[in-house]
Symmetry: C2
Subunit: 266 residues, 2 copies
Amino acid sequence: MKRQVYFISDSTGITVEALGHSLLSQFQDLKFEYTTLRYLDSLNKVENLCQTINDFSGEARPLIFSTLVDGQLRAKLSKANAHIFDLMGKFLTPLEEILDTQASSALGHTHGPGPDKHYEHRMDAVNYALLNDDGITTRHLDRADIILIGPSRSGKTPTCLYLAMQYGVYAANYPLVEEDFELMRLPDILAKRHAQLFGLSITAERLHQIREVRRPESEYASIKQCQYEVKQIGILYRENRIATCDVTQRSVEEIATRILPHLHLP
Amino acid sequence: MKRQVYFISDSTGITVEALGHSLLSQFQDLKFEYTTLRYLDSLNKVENLCQTINDFSGEARPLIFSTLVDGQLRAKLSKANAHIFDLMGKFLTPLEEILDTQASSALGHTHGPGPDKHYEHRMDAVNYALLNDDGITTRHLDRADIILIGPSRSGKTPTCLYLAMQYGVYAANYPLVEEDFELMRLPDILAKRHAQLFGLSITAERLHQIREVRRPESEYASIKQCQYEVKQIGILYRENRIATCDVTQRSVEEIATRILPHLHLP
């Protein structure tokens, strides 16, 4: 039987989804059925939710994770026949005491309402990543906080986009080509930007697997070609003392956060 | 004086940053200085952190928000001379009771370690968004969970990328052009995909402001042109009964989460 889980927010729900999933991932043997309710910003909406939950006739009371901020809404929610994890209430009261300040009870501000002060910067970084993807243009490389290199399909593009979207990092990426592997030399345009370079490493087996999905049974996807590229690029990284991260078993979020300490901040 | 704030995680730190920022955004009159420490996954690392904090000589004890999962690491951290908000500890014990199951104490699983089961899907959606951006190709529109339309620079591309990256949504976007506004008709390729369409609305003033940054003093960025496009597109949306979201004051996270209920799931 699946336990019902509600993620409830007066805003985007991104925070409560993240913490809720993180907590429940500690119970991997159990099955959960998730529902996210966003923008629950009126007494009426919270009351309707309580009604729905109280009408719920399953055997196990549902779990509710909530980042509702407003005290009235939280009080209303607490009446629901469920196990309630009030992520705001739990911490706001002690925070008020420590900081000796009243919380403003404004609606969630993490991902809204409205663009944060960092916002224009993040969006500009996204545009930068799109424009400076895969060496399309190299005119703006000086502006890069980081230039990712790595074999084709090692995840350079999504990593750049994530760095931009989440952290406002100006991330470019540049593809190494057959010629670079043969000459075993970084292209001039990269060699003179050593401090900005960061290399993605991956096993030949994983690279082969990813490329096979893209271009099945091609020379490009063959294990032989992947082994060759992975070997050559490993030597290039070492000889040029380029910081690297193994991406084989890592998500784009993990790769991005492992790159953060290496940013070339002007 | 700025209060020192530490976000501490055994994994990417994305969750603890989100919840911490959300809580502290309720105290907008105060100033905080943030430090995120990621991949703090050994007693040694936590001990070093405690040392640093205990050596800290400021007047106010720092705030620590932590999503450390391992009990030993949490116990060690609790010795630091700081106000500790243990986001896992606070909820794992009651969860264990309610679920009648021992938490696994595995390291954070929200954004790692390793790709989640949803991961390939999310990355495929990112590739889809890149390939189906701005009407570059229309061959794959049938596959779209949503097709965003809206004036140029209203945020279609970053919204598609966010939907893909965060939620694995296949989001395409298609630019309306001068001719569509003059004929006041949806292009055929969109008209026959009504269920997938979603319109972004924006005020002429904001559109003008965004375009001015891009192409200062151009006809394209002029308030007159923006007013014309915004008016015509509004009529197009209404006449074709297209679901819309006003993006003027909204972040890409807010726009994306407001689109989620409108997905055209096959």
